[in-house]
């Protein structure tokens, strides 16, 4: 039997959920016996296989047009999409930007911040993506499994992936459901 393929990516998050994934320590070897880890932000391969993967994982919510592209690509290339962590599930800390709006946030970060020099300006290269109202992944693409937590514990991530690897759809409840 071929091992199910898993790919992940991160959007408007802090990489903490991926750190938590690594926090499963030696169990990662166990997991690798069960699944084939494909593209992730922390491995060499960066894009989910065109021919598709079984499980796609997204950390972080949507905060700009690039996030939307990445989310849509992952969705189109995976069978089961996992929203990993509070930002992906709810919007999370980045969603606080909505209170002020992206313009004010950029102005603050690139122009007014005490650590900037006087020449500070908001990056405006046309290649750059544009900011959108911060939202959970599920506002843009269908999410099959929501695993909240900031970050979800390594145990919870292991548990969810191990079930998926065995062809089961895990129920995120009880101990696994912890928003912190």
């Amino acid at each position: 039997m071929t091992k199910p393929k898993v790919a992940s990516d991160w959007l408007a998050g802090c990489a903490g959920c991926h750190m938590s994934f690594l926090d499963m320590d030696e169990r990662i070897l166990e997991l690798l016996k069960l699944v084939e880890l494909r593209a992730t932000p922390i491995t060499d391969l960066k894009e989910p296989d065109e021919e598709g993967v079984d499980v796609g994982i997204l950390e972080g919510g949507i905060s700009n047009t690039y996030n939307i592209e990445v989310a849509e690509k992952m969705r189109s290339r995976c069978k089961i999409l996992v929203a990993l962590g509070d930002c992906a599930v709810f919007g999370g800390v980045p969603a606080m930007r909505n209170f002020a709006g992206a313009d004010e946030a950029l102005q603050r970060a690139y122009v007014e911040a005490e650590s900037n020099d006087a020449s500070g300006m908001v990056p405006n290269d046309p290649e750059l993506s544009t900011a959108v109202h911060v939202a959970p992944v599920s506002d843009y693409v269908k999410v099959d499994i929501a695993l909240p937590g900031c970050a979800p514990s390594a145990d919870a991530i292991f548990e969810v992936l191990a079930s998926l690897a065995q062809g089961k759809i895990p129920e995120v409840k009880g101990e696994l459901n912890d928003w912190h």
Binding site: V143, A146, N177
Partner: protein, 644 residues
């Protein structure tokens, strides 16, 4: 009371008429989740989390408000109720901004989050709009962040129904509803009296106190039941501690007396106390206070006591000490050494006056509980604004419902703000007040009323109406209960004896009543005794009068838990644990002995006052019996004493 029988989840239960479905379900062991409901508050029915299926009903019904009826058939856990709960929670989460990951109440203390967990909700079906809501950080003790508010109004109802302060309210409607103080002023500048009861009842982190924020969840903290020893009410409270630190103080919700309520003094004052502690004994050597051993310090103290003629000794104890400490203090200094002045460090004479009256009338005072259900409250010379605030809450919350309120005293504070039928005299002419109430009729009464600046016709109407009252309390405070007014008091008692209703004397600080029953007298500010002063100060804040009293003694022995400039003037300083570091008993103003558990370990090298007295006794030829129960039993109490 007729019983109703109904079926809840196929289980038969009987409940009293008037019970809600929720109460019936609790009896049947069915767990219905709730949010806006709080057992201490009137059912409100705003959150709809408690929806249940009732056979024959067109829609789901809120269990917390719908009365149970005969033969009702209820289901609490069906597909339909689960769907409804999920929808209600979705709406609540979408309405405001919840960031559980860094919220002070996450992981155990938040009822909203717990409710979501119970429904296995792992995402929000409706994304919040992420519009910002009001954050008000103007209050000294409390933070308001209405991004977490679920509009349940538990805070508003607590402030109104339980505290009677009616500070909190809502403006706007629907999802824009906004919690505000008064008419929308910053909370810190509002009529709020900082009792923190709204905070204790908020199910989310919309309002929380500054002291305990981020210092651990309720579940992580140790809980110790300990009566409040700030005033003679003796409210039941719970000390929440962690790593030998006091983190928070809650009112004890299981207390039938204060039902979880506390005032600012009981809830926040101890948390504000950042004074330095005395950690080891000190003795003055060649003019300099020097750290020393217990052995040396106690021997110096004992020698000094031995060498001083008893008539040259003055012993005084702070009213914040436990009964145990005060009893031993009285036994040693009064019983054994026969020191002429053994005093309690307060000028409040109310306990003393009650005792004097009791010597004639027996136990004439009622129970503080009675204040919760009255038709008429007559308050004379009492201040329910600084001390005994919870008694003030009991009165204030009944005022909008028509409690008749008569007040005479220097300051009514905000007690009468919502009184519908009241006579307020702000002044101190108690002679005229009591004459007016007790002896005079018709024209004379009118004349007295006018003299006090009251409207005679209004007073007459009030008095006539008051005659119909059956649940009456005369609440007398320290401004009236003085030696100076003694004959007036006798007159008043003679009158009250013939009336329905009871007398409650508010007795100042917590230890006042016990001290008086143990024959400790209120401090004599003009005493000429100047030799040796033995002062059990504990953690008392010292006012100018007390400082002057202390200064008059040439040689000063202090038993204290804290250090300040006054205490540093001592010749022998003996460190003792504070109120939270000892198990002890306190006597409430209505005669109930209540226990305070030990919540913390004392820092440094302290010894309890009773141990110090025991040791000094041994060194000076006396064995303490520690028999405070016996001592209280043989006293002339103005209330019934409940010693266990």
């Amino acid at each position: 009371m007729t019983l109703l029988s109904l079926t809840i989840n196929d289980k038969n239960v009987e409940v009293e008429t008037g019970s809600t479905i929720l109460e019936a379900a609790q009896k049947a062991g069915a767990n219905i989740p709730t949010l806006c409901h709080h057992p201490q508050l009137h059912p409100y029915g705003s959150c709809r989390l408690c929806l249940v299926e009732v056979e024959g009903a067109r829609t789901l019904m809120p269990a917390c408000t719908v009365p149970a009826t005969q033969n009702m058939v209820v289901r609490t856990d069906t597909e339909k109720t689960k769907k409804a709960r999920n929808f209600v929670l979705s709406m609540l989460f979408s309405e405001r901004n919840h960031f559980c990951m860094y919220c002070v109440k996450t992981d155990g203390d938040c009822e909203l989050q717990q409710a979501a967990y119970a429904e296995n909700m792992n995402f929000w079906p409706i994304t919040p709009a992420y519009d910002p809501f009001l954050v008000d950080a103007s209050h000294e003790h409390i933070m308001m962040d209405t991004n977490r508010c679920i509009l349940c109004r538990r805070c508003v109802r607590t402030c109104g129904e339980l505290v009677g302060n009616f500070t909190l309210g809502f403006e706007e409607r629907g999802s824009l509803s906004q919690l505000i103080a008064d008419h929308g002023v910053p909370w810190g500048e509002s009529s709020c009296i900082s009792c923190g009861n709204c905070v204790q009842h908020c199910p989310t982190a919309s309002i929380y106190d500054r002291y305990s924020a981020y210092k651990g969840r309720r579940t992580d903290l140790e809980h110790t039941k300990a009566v409040c020893m700030e005033c003679s009410m003796g409210c039941d409270r719970v000390l929440l501690t962690r790593d030998n630190q006091l983190v928070r103080i809650d009112g004890d919700e299981s207390s039938a007396f204060n039902e979880g309520l506390l005032c600012q003094l009981g809830r926040y004052r101890p948390l504000e106390d950042k004074r330095e502690r005395l950690l080891y004994p000190m003795v003055r050597k060649q003019g300099v206070l020097t750290e020393t051993s217990w052995e040396e310090a106690l021997q110096v103290a004992a020698d000094k006591i031995d060498q001083t003629q008893c008539s040259g000794i003055r012993a005084a104890i702070s009213p914040r000490f436990s009964i145990e400490a005060m009893a031993d203090f009285a036994a040693y200094f009064k019983g054994y050494l026969q020191v002429p002045e053994v005093e309690v460090l307060q000028t409040d004479q109310s306990s003393e006056m009650s005792r004097k009256l009791a010597a004639k009338m027996g136990a004439f005072e009622g129970d503080l509980e009675q204040l919760k259900d009255l038709d008429l409250a007559v308050v004379i010379g009492a201040d329910l604004v600084e001390l005994q605030q919870v008694a003030g809450f009991f009165l204030k919350r009944q005022m909008p419902n028509g409690l008749r309120f008569f007040f005479a005293g220097p300051d009514v504070g905000n007690l009468d703000r919502f009184a519908t039928d009241k006579i307020i005299y702000t002044g101190r002419d108690y002679l005229s007040v009591i004459k007016m109430l007790v002896k005079s009729q018709g024209e004379e009464r009118g004349w007295l009323a006018a003299k006090l600046g009251l409207d005679p016709a209004e007073l007459e109407r009030f008095v006539q109406k008051s005659n119909e009252s059956s649940k009456v309390a005369y609440i007398l405070g320290s401004d009236l209960m003085t030696d100076y007014n003694y004959s007036l008091l006798e007159e008043l008692m003679g009158f009250i004896e013939k009336q329905p209703g009871s007398v409650i004397v508010l007795k100042g600080r917590v230890g006042g009543y016990a001290a008086s029953l143990l024959n400790l007298e209120p401090v004599d500010l003009y005493s000429s005794i100047s030799g040796l002063g033995f002062f059990a100060l504990g953690d008392a804040y010292l006012d100018d009068a007390t400082r002057q009293v202390i200064d008059r003694s040439e040689f000063k022995i202090f038993c204290t838990s804290v250090i300040d400039d006054q205490r540093m003037k001592g010749d022998v300083l003996l460190p003792i644990p504070n109120w939270a570091e000892l198990e002890a008993h306190y006597l409430t103003g209505d005669g109930k002995v209540k226990r305070a558990g030990k919540a913390l370990e004392a820092p440094g090298n302290t010894r309890p006052l009773v141990d110090i007295l025991e040791d000094l006794g041994r060194r000076t030829g006396f064995t303490l019996k520690h028999d405070w129960q016996e001592m209280l039993k043989s006293s002339t109490a103005s209330t019934e004493l409940v010693l266990s």
